[in-house]
Structure formats: structure tokens, C-alpha cells
Symmetry: C2
Subunit: 165 residues, 2 copies
């Protein structure tokens, strides 16, 4: 595996194997409040193990600088996990396929300020990586008493860089 | 009932009869990602009727100007409804108590840019009222096939103004 990963544009199609892009793109699903508000409806496949429930949290993350040395990914066996920015700027998203408990074929996406993502249950992903500015995110995930975190530490860090035109 | 309502600071205590304030206030509940990220955990009492499920939406709302003439409030019998800003600025929040199906004793709160709210199931509330700037909000609410909207139109509009120091 190459140890350099270049981030690409975050689109619903490209991200589909890993989850949903949560964004107000195109025309709203419906218009409410007397025409004053557009609703983009049901943008994420929420999937929570019955031993817990859905919850809302805020994550407050320090920024990273590019290129970034990624040493760790994680996954949550009991539920999907959605992140939508509150403050900050663009951010990096790293996901991977799984082969017998090992994250493989990593991909990096460049999330824009008004884009969120929802990781499907069990998908390997990097931790929050706001670029240059600290950021707050709304996080919707599984809440319960069981262990819901699995981490994988890479032997060699993976360098993530931004796409250059 | 007075037809003028003055917005007050949005605090967890003042808002408690109507729902939760979703914000990163004080120290985080836990620190994750090797010290890089604070988690403010489980900030909203989500409550969804079993005929549906939790979902994530984005609302894109036009702004209001102050003073604002409020003509309508609404409530959702089948679930709580949470709003957390993605973009925009401060916004107005109006809630009311219920007396035999009629919203009474209205209150207006001034929500800051990084504050969200979660309306308890069945609480009367005004529609989205971003002040001066259009805004996007993450919305977590009940999704299903049943009718989940009840509206109340006031005979006379209620004027909402900002608190002056």
C-alpha cells in the first residue's frame, strides 16, 4: 500500500460505499413554513443496535495541517455515526474497506464547510480532521453501555495531502 | 396576552420546560482522539414514536428582520425535533405552553450561532427564524408516514423584538 493518500472531492456517489453525504444540494425535497424554508429530507441511513439508542453530541476538534500523518483509524460496531459541521472550515475524511479486521484500500475525501457525512455502521474511518481551523460538529451516533469503539494503529503513518489542480 | 414578545438569552435552565439546549459549554464530557477532540455527550432527549424512526435532514431557511410578526406556531405529536446551525448567524426561538390545544404563555429566546435546541415532542414552537442571514440547520426528527404536524394560526400577529440592554 502506498503511504501517500491524496484527498478527492466528497460526492454522494464516491462516498456511497462508506455512507452518506449530508448536504443541501439541488432543490429541496419540500418547501415548508409558507415558502420560507426548504427541507432536504432524510439524508442519512441511521442504523443503531437495539442495545442502545440514537443520541446527539457535539465534538470540538483541534485542527490539522496538511500534509497530515495519519496513524490511526477506528470503527463502531454498534451504530452509524454522522458528522455535520457547526463551525470551522473544510475537513478531511478518511475511510477504508475491511479485510479480516484490517483496514485496506484507504480513501481520503475533502469535505467542504457545509457538507456532513454519515459513516455506515462498522466502516473504518479516521478521526475528525478539520483543516487549519478548530471546528465544532454535530454528531449523531449510537449511545449505550456497550463497547462501541475499535481502533487500528498503522505500523507506518500514512501521509494525506490535498488534491492539486 | 400582550402582543409584544421580547427575546431573552437561551440557557439550558430557562429552556428546560420546552427541551434541551445543544451546545459545547464548559468542559467536554470526555476527551478523545488522543487529546485532539472534546466530546459533549448525549445533549438531547430524543423521543420518537415507534411508528417511525430518527432521521437527519437539512433545513435551509430565509432570514427574518426584527421586529418580526409571528403569525403561526406548530407542534409535532410523534417526535422531538432538534435544530443545530450549520451556517448563518443568530436566530430566534419561540415556544409556548399548551392549554387545551391552544398555545399560551409564549416565550422568545435568542439562539446564538453555535447553539442548537431540541424541542420536546408536542411542544408548540415557531418555525425557523434566522436573524438577517439565511441559514442551514441540521435537523434530527421523527420520520415516518403518519401526520406529524399541527399548526396554530394567531388571530393577531405577535411582535417579537430583541432584548435591549
Amino acid at each position: 500500500m502506498s503511504n501517500i493518500l491524496v484527498s478527492v472531492e466528497l460526492t454522494a456517489d464516491a462516498f456511497a460505499p462508506f455512507g452518506d453525504v449530508i448536504e443541501a444540494r439541488g432543490s429541496p425535497t419540500s418547501v415548508i413554513n409558507g415558502g420560507r424554508c426548504g427541507r432536504y429530507h432524510d439524508l442519512a441511513n441511521l442504523d443503531f443496535h437495539e442495545s442502545g439508542r440514537a443520541g446527539i453530541n457535539i465534538f470540538q476538534s483541534q485542527p490539522i495541517a496538511l500534509p497530515f500523518q495519519l496513524r490511526l483509524v477506528e470503527r463502531h460496531p454498534l451504530g452509524s455515526q454522522a458528522f455535520v459541521p457547526i463551525s470551522g472550515g473544510d475537513y478531511l475524511i478518511v475511510v477504508a474497506e475491511d479485510e479480516a479486521g484490517v483496514p485496506v484500500r484507504l480513501k481520503a475525501f475533502h469535505g467542504e464547510r457545509n457538507q456532513g457525512v454519515n459513516y455506515r455502521r462498522g466502516i473504518w474511518h479516521g478521526v475528525l480532521m478539520p483543516i487549519e481551523k478548530a471546528a465544532l460538529f454535530t454528531v449523531v451516533d449510537w449511545i449505550g453501555d456497550r463497547q462501541n469503539l475499535e481502533e487500528f494503529h498503522f505500523k507506518e503513518p500514512i501521509t494525506i495531502t490535498a488534491q492539486t489542480s
